[in-house]
Structures are given as structure tokens and as C-alpha cells.
Symmetry: C2
Subunit: 208 residues, 2 copies
DNA sequence: AAAAATAATTGACTGCGGTCATTTTTTTAT
DNA sequence: ATAAAAAAATGACCGCAGTCAATTATTTTT
């Protein structure tokens, strides 16, 4: 029932995140001080810390919110009857789109979640597990359609494709793959992983 | 000919790195101040910065030195005629061994090199390229032996295996894979990637 | 409506990473 | 050996992330 407070809390939280997006994107994460961020958001410095634990938590929260949104959107829009590759492309490219729009945020978020310290690792493990489980139905369907071997554990399958995503993103960050070529690179990697790396002569059929 | 100076420089550099290894390993990176590090190394705080540009540079330097050492050692010891999988296992497990011995260092180094900011990306790209090229001969040989398809670019092949390494390491950091199971997990991932992810019935031969 | 209780806000303060003018050490020149 | 020049070491100092006791705003109680 506490109307004024609740509304203010939500509003201020949004203000801080918006200010952070603006400043971090414009000047970079390190070049933006919390004091300046607070000023931009129209509040005192200390207040920032009653909404977020640390400077990096601002980044983390923003990215988790975005990911949640992306995934909900995808869960609604994905057609589970299209090919495995199509579905993975849609998913990965949606995440990549978010990443390329918020490069600085994405970089810091990935640094923290892909290589977490002891303190965060449980939380990250949970996020990762939830993410993998989100994809399990897609892989099961693909197995049923005969697109994937049945004798592989779902976790391993998920791992293989997640590995490709990590690779793509890493190559994008270090400049090996420009933004415009990411889709094609992902497509190639997915094709190769789905098709397998075997020599052509050991494989029963090949369209090339 | 400047004997005293040159020797001192090398010695002090070593002292700083040793102190860093001791303190970072014992108390963690964030919990170790440069002032304390300098005390441990028996020098003044400012002196640290005439040997290393930033706190993270200490980590970076240590890891690059170690990697250089590991790779030289491997280049000498690897038998280019054993199977692709055996060679990759030896390489990856050697790097993983270094990583698991210096977890804190490794984490920070990977964060910086896998997801570099604009400022570092050229340097990291060069490191990554050198690393990939180191592996190219192994893949060429494997292609010649018929272990890998000939129609794939070397860079893509390198990418696939590098992706697996990233995955393994990430899972290790977030606790999904305990240290003792890393070898087996890597083995499984390599097998699956080398064998391909195809359904068994589409493949000409299979031992299971 | 006033008082008491509770929650939110704030900026002065602390500690650390990194800088730089000054001092100390080493080398070169005389 | 002494002075001048060059290199290295140093700690006081700066800016910023994060803390906390004091203050202000909101809610509940009477």
C-alpha cells in the first residue's frame, strides 16, 4: 500500500540505470564516476548505493534485465518446429544484437559471468543452468527430428553451442570479426558443428 | 655494461612478481594493496609503477611469461605424429594446469584477453593470432592423416577447439566442473567435436 | 493532527590505485 | 677522487569507489 515510496523506488532505480546507460555509453565505464552518475540521475551519491551494491552491479542488473526480456520475447516468438540451426541463430543473434548495442556493458557482464570469482560463482552457475535448461526443449525436439544424435547428454549439446557463442563474442571483442560479419560467422560455425568435423569420406551423405 | 643496474632491475622485477604471486594467491587480488605488495617486495610503492604500468599489468605479465614458457616447452615435447586428440589434450591440459595453480591470476588474465576493451584489443588480437598459428601445423597434419575434413579453413578449425577450451574453463570457474574432472570433460568434448554431432544413423560407421 | 517509528537520502570520510616532483643512487666526465 | 649527468626510488598527493552517522521524508500510531 505504500504508494509514494514504492513508486519512487522504481522510478529512481530506472533513473539510475538510464543515467548509467547514457554515461557509460558516452564516456566509458571507468571514465564515469559514481558522483557524476548520481548528479546525472539527480540524486546524492550515497543513494546510488542503496539501489545497487557496487558500480559493477549496475551493469550486472541492467544486463540481467535485458537478458530476461530478450529470452521472454524469444520464448514467445520462436517457432519450435523450424530447424535447430534457425532457432539457435535467432536466439544467438538476438543476444548478440543486445551486446553490440551495449558493448561496454556487455563486456563487463561477460567478464564477470564467464569467469566469475569464488564469491559470484554460485549465482552465475544458477544463471547458466537456467539458461541451459531454457534451451533443452529445443535440443530434445531436434533429437526427435533426427537433427542431433540421441546418445549425447543435453548438457553437452548445450555446451557445444554455448562454446560457439563464447568464441564468436570473443572474436568480436578483439576485432577479429566485425559487427557486420557476425551473423555469417555464427552461421558457418553452427553449420560446421551441426554437420560435424569429420572428413567427408567417412560420412554417409553430403550435399557438397 | 651497466652491471649493477641491469641486475637490480631484473632482480626487482622478479621480487615484485614473486610478492604478487604470494599475496594474490593468499589474500586475493582485490584484497592486496599495492602498498602492501611493495612492502612485501621490500621497495617503495612508486617503484612498483616503474616496473609495471598498472596493478593488472602485473597479472598480465606473469601470465604471458608463463604461457610463453608452457608453449615453448610443449613445442619441444609434442610428438606431431600422435593423434590430433592426444596433442590437443596435452596442450589444453598443460594450460589448464597452469590455470588451476594460479586461479586468481588466470581469471583476471582471461577476463582481459577474452573480452578485451578497445584499448587492449589489438594487442590481444596479436596474441590470439600467434596462438592460433602455433596450432596450425597440428591441424594440417591431422588433415593430411584424414582426421579432419580438408574443406575447412584452419582458422575455423582452431576456433572450434579454442571454443571448447573457453567452455571448459568457464565451467570450471563457476563450479560446474571440479578440477579433478576437467581432464575427462575436455576429453569428452574433444571426442564429440572431432567425431561430430551428427545422428548416429546418418554416419557410415560407429563403434557404439 | 501531532507524535512516534520507520525508511530513504545524503555528503563528509576512508582506503586504495595511480601520478609526480623531489631525493637518492649509479654512471660518466674531468 | 670529484663534479656533473643520468637513472631509479620514493612517498606525499589526487581522484574515485564504497561506507556510515546524521538528516530528511514517509508511514503508522494515538
Amino acid at each position: 500500500m505504500s504508494s509514494i515510496r514504492e513508486k519512487n523506488k522504481i522510478t529512481k532505480r530506472r533513473c539510475i540505470l538510464d543515467a548509467a546507460i547514457r554515461l557509460f555509453s558516452k564516456k566509458g565505464y571507468d571514465q564515469t564516476s559514481i558522483e557524476e552518475l548520481a548528479r546525472e540521475a539527480g540524486i546524492g551519491k550515497g543513494t546510488v548505493y542503496s539501489y545497487f551494491q557496487t558500480k559493477k552491479d549496475i551493469v550486472r542488473t541492467f544486463c540481467e534485465d535485458e537478458l530476461e526480456f530478450i529470452r521472454e520475447e524469444l520464448a514467445a516468438n520462436t517457432n519450435p518446429d523450424t530447424s535447430l540451426k534457425d532457432q539457435l541463430m535467432i536466439l544467438f543473434m538476438a543476444e548478440f544484437k543486445h551486446l553490440s548495442r551495449n558493448k561496454e556493458f556487455g563486456r563487463l557482464y561477460l567478464q564477470e559471468t564467464v569467469f566469475p570469482d569464488e564469491h559470484h560463482s554460485e549465482k552465475d552457475l544458477e544463471m547458466q543452468s537456467r539458461y541451459f535448461e531454457l534451451l533443452f526443449p529445443i535440443y530434445v525436439k531436434a533429437q526427435e527430428r533426427g537433427e542431433l544424435r540421441q546418445d549425447l547428454e543435453l548438457l553437452h549439446i548445450a555446451g557445444h553451442f554455448y562454446a560457439l557463442y563464447l568464441l564468436l563474442v570473443s572474436c568480436w571483442f578483439n576485432g577479429m570479426i566485425p559487427t557486420g560479419e557476425a551473423r555469417e560467422a555464427m552461421s558457418t560455425l553452427l553449420d560446421q558443428t551441426i554437420e560435424g568435423l569429420k572428413p567427408a569420406e567417412q560420412t554417409g551423405e553430403h550435399d557438397e
